[in-house]
C-alpha cells in the first residue's frame, strides 16, 4: 500500500483511483492507513465475499492473496499483478500513464 501511496500523484494525474481491499475491519484498516500514511480508502471485505468473487481468497491463510487489478473506465481488467510481483506497482503506474498519453 505504501508503494501506491508513493505513486499516488502520478496515478491521480492519469485519472486513476486507488482502492486497497482486505478482510480486516474498517477500523483496523483506518488505523493501518494512518500508521503508514495512506490517504486512499482501504476497504473492508469483512467475510471475504468480494475476495472470493475475485478468485483471490486463499483457504490456507483465510485471507486474500496480494493481487493488484487495474480496471479501465469501461469496467474491464487491463492489468494484473500477482503475489510477489504485486509489491511493486510500477507496471500498473506505467500502464496508467501510457493510457493517458495515448488518449
Amino acid at each position: 500500500m505504501k508503494a501506491f501511496q508513493q505513486n499516488l500523484q502520478k496515478l491521480e494525474a492519469a485519472d486513476t483511483q486507488v482502492l486497497g481491499v482486505s478482510m480486516d475491519s474498517p477500523f483496523a484498516n483506518k488505523a493501518f492507513a494512518d500508521s503508514i500514511g495512506v490517504t486512499f480508502p482501504l476497504l473492508s471485505d469483512w467475510g471475504g465475499d468480494v475476495t472470493r468473487e475475485y478468485g483471490v481468497y486463499v483457504d490456507q491463510y483465510k485471507a486474500a492473496r496480494r493481487i493488484n487489478f487495474l480496471i479501465g473506465k469501461d469496467g474491464r481488467i487491463l492489468e494484473e499483478q500477482l503475489d510477489r510481483e504485486a509489491i511493486d506497482p510500477t507496471k500498473i503506474v506505467d500502464a496508467c500513464e501510457r493510457r493517458k498519453v495515448n488518449r
Binding site: A3, V21, S44, R66, F69, K73, D74, G75
Partner: protein
C-alpha cells in the same frame, strides 16, 4: 562377490530413484498448495462490481466499483492483512 556387488548397486539405485521420486512428488504438491494458482479473472474480463465499506475517520462510507464507471480507472489492490508489510 561381483554378483553381490552389482545386486546391491541395483538396490541402491532403486532406492535413490524412489527417494528422488518422492521428493519431486512432494515438491509438486507443495507448489499446488502455494498461492500461485491461475487467476479466475483474466485481463479483458469485466471486473465484478462490489460495494464495500471504509472508515474515513468520522463514519463508515460505502464505495462501489461502479461509482467510477466511465469516469476513472481503478486500481483494486488486495492485500493479506492490515499491519503486514507493504
Amino acid at each position: 562377490m561381483r554378483r553381490t556387488f552389482s545386486h546391491s548397486t541395483f538396490r541402491a539405485s532403486l532406492l535413490t530413484a524412489a527417494v528422488v521420486f518422492s521428493f519431486l512428488a512432494g515438491q509438486a504438491q507443495a507448489q499446488g498448495n502455494k498461492p500461485e494458482a491461475p487467476m479466475k479473472l483474466k485481463v479483458g474480463d469485466v471486473a465484478p462490481d462490489f460495494k464495500l465499506k471504509y472508515f474515513d475517520g468520522s463514519g463508515l462510507k460505502d464505495i462501489s466499483l461502479s461509482d467510477y464507471r466511465g469516469k476513472k480507472n481503478v486500481v483494486v489492490a488486495f492485500y493479506v492483512f492490515a499491519f503486514t508489510g507493504g
